[in-house]
């Protein structure tokens, strides 16, 4: 028997596909089930937590932030005393984390580039030393490195009365590192203004130089002029302000030093550990980035008659940076996240302050949530910035 077209059409219309064979319906079922499981687990945890909190009579919410903290913090960028609120204590912690992360990132990038370039050196000794540096520091847990440096600072450095005095006004002891700074004077305000002015002029000059180069092909010596500006303008401001030379030198007062600037052994150990550990990874990234640019690029640039510094800045670096930046971002984020290990050696970073807060108030959930939110914020901001930079540097294809 021959099936007619009408019959086939009729069958496809009437014969429904069972829903477990229909991909679209099945997809909906899967997703509903997944969401239901997640919500069920979430609700289970939530209700258990509610019951437990009620049983232990722990108040929920962030009301505790307005209460008096009652603990002192050793290092702070803003005024803080034990009588201030928890919110302010946590802010001190955030600022400490930010300062460690910022200084750490800057130092790490410098050291990482240095070691990465050294790894590629034609000098056997230099490249082997760099290789040893990378292998050793990458393969030891960062926390162990922090403990190691902290114990060195703590055990090996003398007490304040027998401080090392490597240069006039510089004192090193197991309470911290003390440096002299210029005593405050209105002239320094003008120096700051001059620096800002130099920065502004640099930005404008760079834009003008680029437009001129696009139009006429003439290259303006932007680097030398701008670095000159950065030296000369503040110097003129300093002279005009009366050329103050008074220094605020640290001096022994009772059992400890006062005056000057100082940072603690905890801060030094944290910074040193983080920078050494992360720079080993950055060095590997830099090495890989430079190796990713084929030697033909250098040869082509040289055959165009470019000088060797221009070969580096115009040809090699722009291409190498494209390879380097994405993994570099994640290393910078790692450094920021690893700065939370400060809690182990007693530097008052955000996690450390939050931990003290949790222990004092019993507000475990709020404390942990705050820690997570703050670090998520750092992560998102850094990756947003790096994505923007990456997009700017990325290969523009036709």
């Amino acid at each position: 028997m021959v099936t007619s077209d009408a019959e086939i059409a009729g069958r496809t219309q009437t014969e429904e596909i069972p829903f477990w064979r229909d991909p679209t319906k099945r997809a909906i079922v899967y997703q509903v089930v997944a969401l239901a499981v997640v919500f069920a687990v979430g609700y289970y945890i939530f209700s258990n937590t509610q019951t437990n909190l009620r049983r232990q009579s722990i108040a929920t919410g962030f009301g505790f932030l307005d209460r008096e903290a009652g603990f002192a913090i050793g290092e702070s960028l803003i005024n803080y005393s034990a009588a201030d609120t928890y919110a302010r204590a946590l802010l001190v912690g955030v600022l400490n984390t930010v300062s460690v992360a910022f200084i750490g990132i800057v130092l790490t990038i410098f050291l990482g580039i240095l070691v990465g370039v050294a790894r590629l050196s034609t000098n056997w000794l230099v490249s082997r030393l760099a290789g040893g540096y990378i292998e050793v520091l990458q393969n030891i847990p960062v926390l162990l490195q922090l403990f190691f440096w902290y114990s060195i600072f703590h055990d090996a450095l003398p007490s304040p009365r027998q401080s090392f005095n490597p240069a006039a006004g510089v004192f090193i002891n197991n309470r911290g590192f003390y440096f002299p700074i210029p005593a405050s004077h209105p002239a320094y305000l003008w120096v700051g203004v001059a620096l800002a002015a130099a920065l502004l002029v640099t930005v404008l000059l760079r834009r003008w130089a680029r437009i001129r180069q696009d139009k006429t092909g003439k290259i303006f010596p932007i680097w030398s002029v701008c670095s000159g500006l950065f030296v000369v303008l503040p110097f003129i401001a300093w002279i005009a302000g009366g050329a103050p030379t008074a220094m605020n030198v640290p001096h022994l007062q009772g059992f400890n030093f006062e005056g000057g600037v100082s940072f603690s052994p905890e801060f030094a150990a944290l910074l040193l550990g983080l920078v050494l550990y992360t720079s080993a990874f950055v060095a590997e990234i830099v090495r890989a980035g430079i190796q990713a640019v084929s030697y033909g690029q250098t040869e082509a640039a040289m055959s165009l008659g470019l000088r060797s510094n221009l070969v580096l800045t115009l040809i090699i670096l722009p291409q190498a940076l494209r390879v380097i930046i994405p993994p570099l971002t994640s290393q910078m984020l790692n450094l920021t996240k690893n700065s939370s290990l400060a809690v182990a050696i007693g530097f008052p970073d955000f996690v450390s302050v939050a931990n003290t807060t949790i222990n004092q108030t019993g507000q475990a959930i709020e404390g942990v949530v705050l820690i997570m939110v703050v670090y998520l914020f750092f992560s998102l901001v850094t990756s947003a910035y790096m994505n923007w930079y990456n997009k700017k540097k990325a290969l523009v294809e036709r």
Binding site: A27, Q31, T122, V126, I140, P141, D155, I358, Y375, L376
Partner: protein
């Protein structure tokens, strides 16, 4: 033909003496430009200034098998802090007379690792042997048979805890990570969103915040009366953390598989599960073996963070030793010793991963 004849002729000529041998090597590798010569001399000077004092401290003037009071009189390193406490540093609170058991388990583990290093040993039997081997190690340490007294996991400390947390953590995190990676690549929006949120959330926060969560929040999550011990809680945190990183590594592998493979599998009529199990995952997971070893290395290093929530891993047992008044002040020696242990573990793993990367590059 003429070219090759010419080549053999030039090959007969001996190179100048200054280009071969020790002098040639020195000239090429250490003194090939004025700047490099200066650098070489500078580094040699620095090494001369640092290496001999270090050797003096670490070997010539060091003491090895004394007690703490004699150590304080010594000029050099006090390695006694390691030799006298090595069993506590390695095995922690595991009962002293029973410490041969973790030692046996450790040797078994090292044997397994050495055997697995060779790629020609990789087969189906090895995949079964691993869980069995790990279970045997666990049983030896836990005891309760053949007259071996039971040692609760709360007593497992030192290197056993470090290895337990990292190896068990990775074993459980691996399947979870694969599922998350598949979820992230899924076409179903709800599942994709859940996976992305989980992965990014975990990767955005430090491990220490998860460990805090495990130690202070997990007890609140459970119904009244149920408690889980501290080690297990930390283990859960490590698993949740590692899974997110594995997921990203596996995603890289999944993205590296060409579309043709997916389409070919679909055109054969394989459903999603079969397509993934038979076609995609075997290829993707093979690509990501080297980065997975890197994850194992970081997991191994990251377990040291459990010190902060008060578990007695290798680092903590060392600190306990150092807090003994007899041995305070010798932290450099003790930390150098465990650095060496960590370094040996991580360095051999990373070498293995590098070798594998070369071998798998076909």
């Amino acid at each position: 033909m003429e070219d090759s004849a010419g080549l053999t002729k030039t090959a007969d000529l001996k190179p100048p003496v200054t280009n071969v041998g020790v002098i040639g090597w020195l000239k090429q590798n250490l003194f090939n430009s004025p700047l490099n010569s200066l650098l070489t001399l500078f580094i040699l000077f620095c090494l001369y200034k640092t290496i001999p004092p270090f050797v003096q401290w670490a070997f010539l003037k060091s003491v090895w098998y004394t007690d703490g009071t004699q150590c304080k009189l010594a000029d050099g390193a006090c390695w006694s802090v390691v030799t006298k406490n090595v069993r506590f540093i390695l095995f922690g609170f595991y009962p002293y007379e029973q410490q041969w058991r973790p030692a046996v388990a450790l040797i078994l583990l090292i044997g397994f690792l050495l055997y697995t290093r060779e790629r020609r040993h990789w087969n189906r039997r090895l995949i079964i042997a691993w869980p069995v081997g790990l279970a045997v190690m666990g049983l030896i340490m836990h005891g309760g048979f053949f007259g071996l007294p039971v040692v609760e996991t709360t007593k497992w400390s030192g290197i056993c805890l470090t290895l337990l947390l990292s190896i068990f953590g990775l074993t459980v995190a691996y399947p979870l990570g694969v599922v998350l990676a598949l979820g992230r690549q899924s076409r179903l929006p709800a599942i994709k969103t859940l996976s992305v949120v989980y992965i990014e959330l975990i990767r955005g926060v430090p491990l220490i915040s998860l460990l805090f969560m495990a130690s202070v929040m997990f007890p609140l999550f459970l119904p009244e009366g149920i408690t889980i011990d501290k080690i297990l809680r930390a283990q859960v945190a490590i698993i949740l953390f590692t899974a997110a990183y594995i997921a990203e590594v596996v995603r890289g592998g999944l993205q590296a598989i060409s579309r043709g493979q997916y389409e070919a599998a679909e055109s054969l009529g394989l459903d999603y599960y079969l397509k993934m199990r038979l076609i995609i995952l075997p290829q993707a997971l093979k690509i990501v073996i080297p980065p997975t070893v890197s994850i194992l290395i970081s997991a191994f290093k990251d377990t040291s963070l459990v010190v902060i929530i008060g578990l007695f891993d290798l680092l903590k047992t060392t600190q306990v030793t150092l807090s003994n008044p007899e041995w305070t002040g010798f932290s450099a020696e003790a930390y150098l010793f465990i650095s060496l242990l960590y370094f040996a573990g991580c360095f051999s793993m990373s070498n293995f991963s590098r070798r594998l990367e070369n071998e798998l590059q076909t």
